[in-house]
Symmetry: none
Subunit: 128 residues, 4 copies
DNA sequence: GTGGTCTAGACCACC
DNA sequence: GTGGTCTAGACCACA
């Protein structure tokens, strides 16, 4: 995992984002035991409390559960994970579309931009 | 103009965003005179200092210029406005694509989501 | 407000409980500004962080909202408050009924206990 | 017996609760021999130490007694069992009433809620 | 050793 | 002065 931080968002929120990503992409498999708070904190280079806060947030979202003294585990409920993933994607998509619409782009304009970007990318790919 | 504020961004930043939007969408036409800081602040229901900061930001971006005593005006340089608009759009697009890619969506997946969304929208439109 | 704490529940949770109670009972009126985190913390005799955690919880529940630098306010949405109140009552009721049922009491048994308690109470009242 | 655990109470306390319930409801008859700690622990899926602690608690409460090598037995003193049962019920009742009173419900309000709940239940029963 | 809680104290952007 | 974030370090019950 890369534990680099931007400065446009609180660290704990970025930790949440990062861990969520790890779960929905399968990097952290359902049922897997997470390292202890202290270990994760050390790995990420943050205070244990900060990491704790992030994990508490994940617990609230149902992506992780804590067991008294055994540690924390990724939920086995793959439905929850899948729902979380699509929710994240839809949210991104919705935000993107409304922002673009506010800027005066309609669906065709957006589609044009996308294909344009795509071609750029392909040229860059072949060029590398 | 709607002057409602979210809680995830400083107010002055939201003011900048809102005014920028007004300019690039033509709601505020090139060369138009802006209301005074006091008036704008009153309209938006914010502290004049906060509005002031937003306008200063817009000046730095070259979208607005001040004339000693006459007030502030939207730039007449339509090229600057157009550039600002495409810059905003590209930035949105880039952020969106990288976020989706992190979530495991490739170009085809994104395209699928977009068309899906489009159909939803159309059904909603016809249904209303 | 009485800020006494039991030791069967984390302090922050008791703070949440106490403040929630204040809101649903109208002790804290809709739209009212709460004292600052620091003031509340001093009044309750806890660390500001602990009070902050409680208030964050209330915010998540929609009973309180924060405004950038102006302070925190009780929600004006009385529907949310009413819903919260009935939710609390129903939850208490449900817990009570299931617990009694597990103990082997049916509805009639519970009703009997209630009227018995009521009479006790009345005798105590007249006796005072 | 169902040995599922919540997360809001230490496991040993939940074990005590569960076993107490078994005794006061007669599921575990007076004088009956309990399985060994090891067996109980295995059945409940907990550490033997944890189950041991729960049983010790029950002994202190006088609901269970140990005989050197023969094992543990449910008390034959039905008076103790009955007293334990009413104590549990009264405690539940008292807690419930004070909580509801704090929420602003008087006896009539509580009675109303109860009958309301009762009707709901009956409709659900007949409806199934 | 694990998660959970709490304190103390600091820094920050914002208004 | 306000809310928000973060660190450091401590203590606790639990298993």
């Amino acid at each position: 995992m890369d534990w680099s931080f931007r400065n446009d968002l609180p660290i704990y929120a970025q930790l949440v984002e990062r861990l969520k990503l790890g779960i929905v992409t399968g990097e952290l498999t359902p049922g897997a035991r997470l390292p202890s708070v202290r270990e994760l904190a050390a790995e990420a280079g943050v205070n244990p409390n900060t990491m704790q806060r992030a994990l508490t947030e994940l617990e609230r979202a149902g992506l992780v559960y804590a067991q008294r003294t055994a540690g924390r585990f990724v939920t086995e409920d793959t439905a929850v994970i899948a729902a979380s993933k699509t929710a994240m994607a839809e949210s991104r998509l919705r935000d993107f579309l409304t922002a673009m619409k506010k800027l005066g782009y309609d669906r065709d304009g957006i589609a044009a931009l996308l294909t344009e970007k795509k071609e750029e990318q392909e040229h860059a790919d072949t060029g590398m």
